[in-house]
C-alpha cells in the first residue's frame, strides 16, 4: 500500500500567546513549534496500517524551513520518505490555496491508496484543508474517523467508524480515500533513538514555491498571498474574560468539610440564583 500523510507544524497550544505588532497575527517570536497533535494520530495510523498491510508511508508537508523538524519527527516515527513544499507566506494565504497546493504535489506522487491527516490544525482550528485536498484529488473522504475497522487491500476498500452527534456510523469507502483523524483514534508512538538516526537518511524531496506550476493548479501565484486569499484575517485579539472568582472555602483549611458542606452548597445556590441569575 502507498499511504500518504499530510502533516502540519503548529504553535504549541500550551504557550501563552500575544498578538504581533501588525495586529493580524500571533507573535511567533519565542514560540515552540510542534507537530500538529492531530497529525500525530494520522502518522501513527499510517504506520500501523503499513505494519499490517505492508507498503510505504510518505509525508507531505507545507511551510517554511522550520517544518523540516516536524517532517523528521514523522520519519523518525517510521514514515519512509517526505515531500516538503518549502516557502514563506503560506500562513497568510487561505485553506483553499493550501488545499490546491498540497493536492498538486500529491498528484505528482503517482497512485496511492490512502491519505491520513489531522481533523484540524490547532492554531487556525479550521479543519478545511484535508477535506479540500480530497475534493481536489476527486477522491472520497471520511472525516473524524474514530476507528479504522478494516482495510481490505484486495477489494480496495476501507471500513471506518465515525462519531456523529447523537450516535455513531460505520461506513464503507472505496480506496483511494482520505481520512481525517480526531484524537481518540490511537496512541502515537515516540520516535526512538535509532528512528531519529535513520530519519536523517530517508529521502526528502523539496519543492520550492517557484517550482510550482500554478497554471496546472488553476489559480495564479497571487492566490498564495494575503491579498489573494478568499478569506483573510484582518485582526486578531486575545480577549480577557473577567471572571468573578467568588470561591467558597473552608474556615480552617481550603477544603470545605463537615458541617460547612451544607452551608457552602446553600451559598453557591444563592450566588447562582441571585448574583448570576442562571438557575
Amino acid at each position: 500500500m502507498k499511504i500518504l500523510v499530510i502533516v502540519s507544524q503548529t504553535q504549541d497550544t500550551e504557550a501563552k500567546i500575544q498578538v504581533s505588532a501588525s495586529g493580524d497575527s500571533i507573535d511567533t517570536g519565542d514560540m515552540k513549534w510542534i507537530m500538529n497533535p492531530y497529525d500525530e494520530f494520522a502518522v501513527e495510523e499510517a504506520i500501523q496500517t503499513k505494519e499490517k498491510h505492508g507498503g510505504e508511508v510518505v509525508i507531505v508537508a507545507i511551510g517554511p524551513g522550520r517544518v523540516i523538524d516536524t517532517i523528521r519527527q514523522a520519519l523518525a516515527m517510521g514514515a519512509d520518505s517526505a515531500v516538503h513544499i518549502n516557502g514563506e507566506g503560506f500562513a497568510e494565504t487561505d485553506s483553499y490555496a493550501i488545499g490546491k497546493l498540497i493536492a498538486g504535489e500529491i498528484k505528482k506522487l503517482g497512485e496511492f491508496d490512502l491519505i491520513f491527516t489531522g481533523m484540524k490544525i490547532i492554531d487556525e482550528e479550521s479543519g478545511q484543508v484535508g477535506v479540500q485536498v480530497a475534493e481536489e484529488l476527486g477522491i472520497p473522504h471520511v472525516s473524524l474517523v474514530s476507528k479504522v475497522v478494516e482495510i481490505n487491500t484486495d477489494a480496495k476498500k476501507a471500513v471506518c467508524q465515525k462519531e456523529i452527534d447523537g450516535g455513531h456510523v460505520v461506513v464503507e469507502v472505496p480506496l483511494p480515500c482520505l481520512i481525517t483523524c480526531p484524537d481518540a483514534m490511537n496512541e502515537p508512538r515516540y520516535a526512538s533513538l535509532p528512528g531519529i538516526m535513520k530519519a536523517k537518511k530517508k529521502p526528502l524531496t523539496e519543492v520550492g514555491i517557484d517550482d510550482i506550476n500554478y497554471d496546472e493548479l488553476g489559480f495564479g501565484k497571487d492566490a498564495v498571498s494575503k491579498e489573494g486569499a478568499r478569506v483573510k484575517t484582518i485582526s486578531i485579539e486575545v480577549p480577557q474574560i473577567e471572571r468573578k472568582l467568588k470561591i467558597i472555602k473552608g474556615d480552617d483549611e481550603p477544603m470545605v468539610k463537615g458541617e460547612e458542606v451544607a452551608k457552602a452548597a446553600e451559598e453557591l445556590i444563592k450566588l447562582l440564583r441571585e448574583d448570576a441569575k442562571v438557575i
Partner: protein, 331 residues
C-alpha cells in the same frame, strides 16, 4: 450574483431541525439580509424532509429550496456536496451559512472547494464589511484568540456558525417552496453507510444546551458519573466530560468537551472535579457563567471561574443536587 442569503438546514438523526438553523436564520436576517437587500432562504436537503418548510418560515425564511432524495439519507456527505454545489451554481447566492456541527464540518469545506469559494468555519459573529462582503469572528489558537476575517468577495461567501452563538427569534413568513432541480445518481455516492447507531437520550445535546454539567477524572469511575447525570437532569442540562475522564473509560467520547472534543458556550457550565487545562478551556471557555467544584484549591480552574467551592465532590454534590432539586420543583 444574487443578494440572497442562504441557510442550509441542519437536521438531527430523528429528522427534526437543529436549533442552530433557527439561530442562523435569525442572525442572517438581522445582520446580512436587510443590508444586502436580497431574500432570506433556507436549503432543505435530506430524505423525507418535505413538510419542514413551514417551520423554517417561522424564523423568517422567505424561500425554501428543497431537495428530497433517498440518496441524501443519513447525512450523506457526497449527496449533500453535489446537491448544495449545484444549487449554489444555479442561483449564485451572496452568502451561504450552515451550523458548525459534526456534519457541517464534513461537507461544507468540500462544497467550498468544489465551487471555488472561500469558507470560514465556526463563526461566533457574522456581519458585513463596508463593501458588503461577509465578515466574521471566530476563535482560534485553542480558543485563546478571536480572529476577525473578511471575505474577498466575487464568489459566494460561505461560513459555518457555532451553535448557541446567536438567539433564535420568530419572525413569521410564508416561504415560497422551490423544488431544487438537482440530479443525484446512486453512482455518485461512494461512501456507503453500513451501520448507524443512534443513542436514545432525553438530555439535550452538548453543543445546543443552555446548561452543561461536566465531570473530570476525579469522578473516579463510570458508576460515579451518575452524580453528573443526576444534576444534569434536574437542571435540564447536557452532560459533558474532560478528555481524561473519557480516556479513563468513565463515559463515551461524544461527551468530551475541549480542544479535541466539542466546543460549547452555554449560559451555565458546571465543572465537577475538573482542574481546568488549556485544552478543556478551549472547548468551554466562552461559557457565560462557569462554576467549579474541586478539592484542590490550587486547581487552575479556580483562577478562571465565576463561582466555586473548594471541596470533595462526593461531599458537596449530594446536598447541592438535593437543594437544586427542591428549588426546581418549587418552580
Amino acid at each position: 450574483m444574487s443578494n440572497d442569503v442562504w441557510v442550509v438546514v441542519d437536521l438531527k438523526l430523528d429528522g427534526t431541525i437543529r436549533k442552530v438553523t433557527f439561530e442562523a436564520l435569525t442572525e442572517a436576517k438581522k445582520k446580512l439580509v436587510d443590508k444586502l437587500g436580497g431574500q432570506l432562504c433556507a436549503v432543505l436537503l435530506g430524505s423525507g424532509v418535505s413538510g419542514l418548510e413551514s417551520e423554517l418560515g417561522k424564523y423568517g425564511a422567505q424561500k425554501v429550496y428543497v431537495v428530497d432524495s433517498e440518496l441524501l439519507k443519513d447525512f450523506n456527505t457526497e449527496g449533500y456536496v453535489i446537491a448544495l454545489s449545484e444549487l449554489i451554481k444555479q442561483n449564485e447566492p451572496a452568502v451561504v451559512l450552515a451550523g458548525n456541527t459534526v456534519f457541517g464540518q464534513d461537507y461544507f469545506p468540500r462544497v467550498a472547494a468544489r465551487i471555488g469559494s472561500g469558507v470560514a468555519m465556526d463563526a461566533i459573529k457574522i456581519d458585513l464589511s463596508g463593501d458588503n462582503n461577509l465578515q466574521i469572528e471566530r476563535y482560534s489558537h485553542s480558543s485563546k484568540a478571536i480572529q476577525k476575517q473578511v471575505f474577498h468577495g466575487g464568489t459566494t461567501m460561505m461560513a459555518t456558525v457555532r451553535p448557541n452563538s446567536f438567539k433564535a427569534e420568530e419572525a413569521p413568513a410564508t416561504p415560497e417552496v422551490i423544488s431544487g432541480s438537482v440530479e443525484l445518481n446512486p453512482g455518485d455516492i461512494k461512501v456507503k453507510v453500513i451501520e448507524l447507531e443512534t443513542k436514545a437520550s432525553d438530555r439535550p445535546e452538548l453543543t445546543e444546551a443552555d446548561r452543561v454539567v461536566s465531570g473530570g477524572r476525579g469522578l473516579a469511575s463510570e458508576e460515579n458519573f451518575k452524580y453528573i447525570y443526576e444534576l444534569a437532569d434536574i437542571l435540564g442540562a447536557a452532560a459533558g466530560a474532560t478528555r481524561a475522564a473519557v480516556d479513563a473509560g468513565y463515559c463515551p467520547y461524544d461527551m468530551q468537551v475541549g480542544q479535541t472534543g466539542k466546543a460549547v458556550s452555554p449560559n451555565l457550565y458546571i465543572a465537577i472535579a475538573i482542574s481546568g487545562s488549556v485544552q478543556h478551556f478551549a472547548g468551554m471557555g466562552s461559557s457565560k457563567v462557569i462554576v467549579a467544584i474541586n478539592k484542590d484549591p490550587e486547581a487552575p480552574i479556580f483562577q478562571k471561574c465565576d463561582y466555586g467551592i473548594v471541596g470533595d465532590l462526593f461531599d458537596i454534590l449530594p446536598p447541592f443536587t438535593e437543594k437544586v432539586k427542591a428549588l426546581v420543583s418549587e418552580g
